[in-house]
Symmetry: C2
Subunit: 411 residues, 2 copies
């Protein structure tokens, strides 16, 4: 991603249809102070701590699994219909640390591998590289995961002498594809995981940002057989600058001692050697935001969700206005989230991006950075999270100029 | 360490001569708000950011290497005489993440090993386990590191076919031994590192807590040949609940591309796959404390340093009052820090600790948890960081009861 950051830095005035960070439109620093005060009141008034004890929560190291696990569980019940035992929750430094911990725990030697639905979020690929774990990609197909391909990749991976330990995916408004799994696919995937003795690593940073339709249940909400490790992030729904994520790991595992234990406790043991604790101050900020909104981030994000929804509609309208249906340029229609994917009749590579930023003033992300399949070479990701409708309209007009200048002319 | 936490939890009224966390005597939650406001003012008044730009610093993801690197460099100049280029600093989630990043970067395959002066801080051993790196221990001897043994361990490790990449140590008031390196040993160690082409990983959480004598220069302050990677922690001097540490890595390294680059940038690349950023909100808290104290944590910790100094003197006096000089029980006399080591004429193991906690009401740490050398079996660590002088006197009296009950009687 270094090249992408560098391009964005070199052309600061280009319209950022590449940036995936959340909208900062409604944020004020004062909110951080309010959240911290709210959490302090919760400790003293609802939890009955003395002022001295509450001070210690802010000041000292805390529990390795986190100090806001009960509020996380309450949030999952309120927003996701997930019934999580707080003791199954490990609060992490962003979702990225959760990915690392899970992969590190699943890797016992060089035969362990992870599958990932492609195109794959770079955080997963990075964590796998850090733990020296091979990643085998599964096609997403039109429904977000191609189950036949998943079965085939499992077979092929096993025949290589590898042990596929888990399959990673974002079932809702995936980054970068914008795809979501329909309900039937969710059930079929859970059945396949049970049949194949596979864990599913469900990453869900965008689930609550729907474009208008109904929200589908998460895999974890449908998971009656403890096949799903749920990776949560408050970066998009809470406050990115707090860097708080979590993992729900309610599986029973066999410990090195031979006894059985909870997967969350295994992860906590690894975390004690990696970061010791997630900063209690950062957890307190997220906790305060949760408390202020009755545990619901759906409620906390009403304005943001409306903004993303309007932006996505605006992006789809602008694309339709510039590129005729049935023409050489096409794109998908996500049910929500930040992203959609445009396919061009020629390569959308870093060179084209450089021209786009320099000569046309618009930034986007070549899909090649997420995926090495042949079709990815001609695809680009557009994001609507930090732009205004005006910027989207202007950005798509500029993109159309760029694309028009490269298309063969009719004469 | 799980057993130790469990014992402490089971006997909450026992005197905590085991706990190594810093004193919370002078802390108030309001300080967190003050620090955040101070950092906000710094951004707008000293750095010239608009209110909107300052908000973004608090709200959004930040630079992977950290957002307070310039303040860290200023702090190192003020308190440690270290002249660090801010671009050589990587701000981390506690010092623990820094240890992991450095070891992960130094490990290219199973032949890479790390040396550590024993008894060794468990955080280093844990990080090495996470990256599957063997640890070879070096004797501390009376001066904090036995240089002859270091040379011998290097030779032996190489003859095993391993590549010793670095040697880890705490040159000042080490945890758990309480030992410090004298100035001549510091220079000799740096010479040996140069001769043997070895990196030194200098960990310095306790350096500024002297018991009265002069502070010696850190290895990094004496490092003219870039042999030292400096591991810093604000857990003891800043605020543990912020979980902010850092590493100064100014070495030139050869990148996978064949070009040369800065070691700090290599570490940042790994960090982007591990935690992405250290929470900006947590960095802001530490930055505010630094700013409030003109960049000096020596100044910020005047009350704490006086408390630890008084406690250490009180502990030494109490030990001398209960155990005759030249007798079977002896201990070292640290120049500062939180810890000292007592040697008994019998094993100081987990069973004895259980008896001590249950029947005598005093907690300490068996040295066996840090070190598997034969002499460690009879040693225990005492800590003075979260107790009062009264608790220390009472705790040592209880320890003397326990020890007296186990000593052979004269008749």
């Amino acid at each position: 991603m270094n090249f992408l950051n560098e391009i964005a830095g070199r052309y600061p005035d280009a319209i950022p249809l590449a940036a995936g960070r959340p909208s900062e439109e409604f944020f004020e620093i004062e909110a951080v102070h309010r959240y911290l005060h709210r959490f302090e009141r919760y400790l003293t008034e609802e939890r009955g701590l003395s002022a001295e004890q509450a001070g210690r929560v802010f000041f000292q190291y805390g529990r390795t699994k986190g100090i806001v696990h009960e509020l996380v569980a309450r949030n999952l019940a309120a927003d996701e219909g997930i019934d999580a035992d707080p003791e199954s929750v490990v609060v992490t430094v962003g979702c990225q640390e959760a990915m690392f911990l899970v992969l590190r725990a699943l890797r016992s030697d060089e035969r362990d591998a992870v599958l990932a639905v492609a195109p794959t979020y770079v955080g997963l690929t990075g964590a796998a590289r850090l733990v020296d774990m091979p990643v085998r990609t599964v096609r997403s197909g039109p429904t977000g995961v191609d189950l036949d391909d998943l079965a085939e990749v499992l077979r092929r991976t096993r025949s290589e002498g590898l042990r596929p330990r888990a399959c990673y995916l974002l079932p809702d408004h995936s980054n970068p594809s914008g795809l979501s799994l329909d309900l039937a696919t969710r059930h079929a995937l859970l059945d396949l995981a049970e049949r194949e003795d596979l864990l599913l690593l469900e990453d869900n940073p965008y689930g609550l940002f729907t474009a208008g339709g109904e929200r589908l249940p998460t895999l974890k909400a449908l998971d009656t057989r403890r096949r799903v490790v749920y990776l949560g992030s408050y970066a998009k729904t809470g406050l990115p600058g707090a860097r708080v994520g979590f993992v729900v790991a309610d599986q029973e595992v066999v410990l090195p001692s031979g006894a059985t234990g909870r997967f969350a406790d295994e992860l906590a043991k690894l975390k004690s050697m990696l970061t010791v604790n997630t900063p209690p101050i950062a957890q307190a900020v997220i906790a305060g935001k949760l408390l202020e909104n009755g545990g619901s981030l759906v409620r906390a994000n009403e304005r943001e969700t409306a903004r993303y929804r309007e932006n996505l509609r605006c992006l789809l309208d602008a694309l339709a206005a510039h590129f005729p249906a049935g023409g050489p340029v096409h794109w998908n229609t996500p049910g929500g989230g930040f992203f959609l994917v445009v396919t061009l009749p020629f390569d959308a590579d870093d060179d084209l991006l450089t021209v786009s930023a320099r000569d046309h003033g618009v930034l986007w992300t070549p899909m090649r950075h997420f995926h090495d399949a042949p079709e990815a070479a001609r695809q680009l990701r557009l994001s609507v999270s930090v732009v205004t409708p005006e910027q989207i309209r202007e950005g798509v007009a500029r993109l159309a100029d760029l694309i028009g200048s490269r298309l063969p002319t009719a004469d």
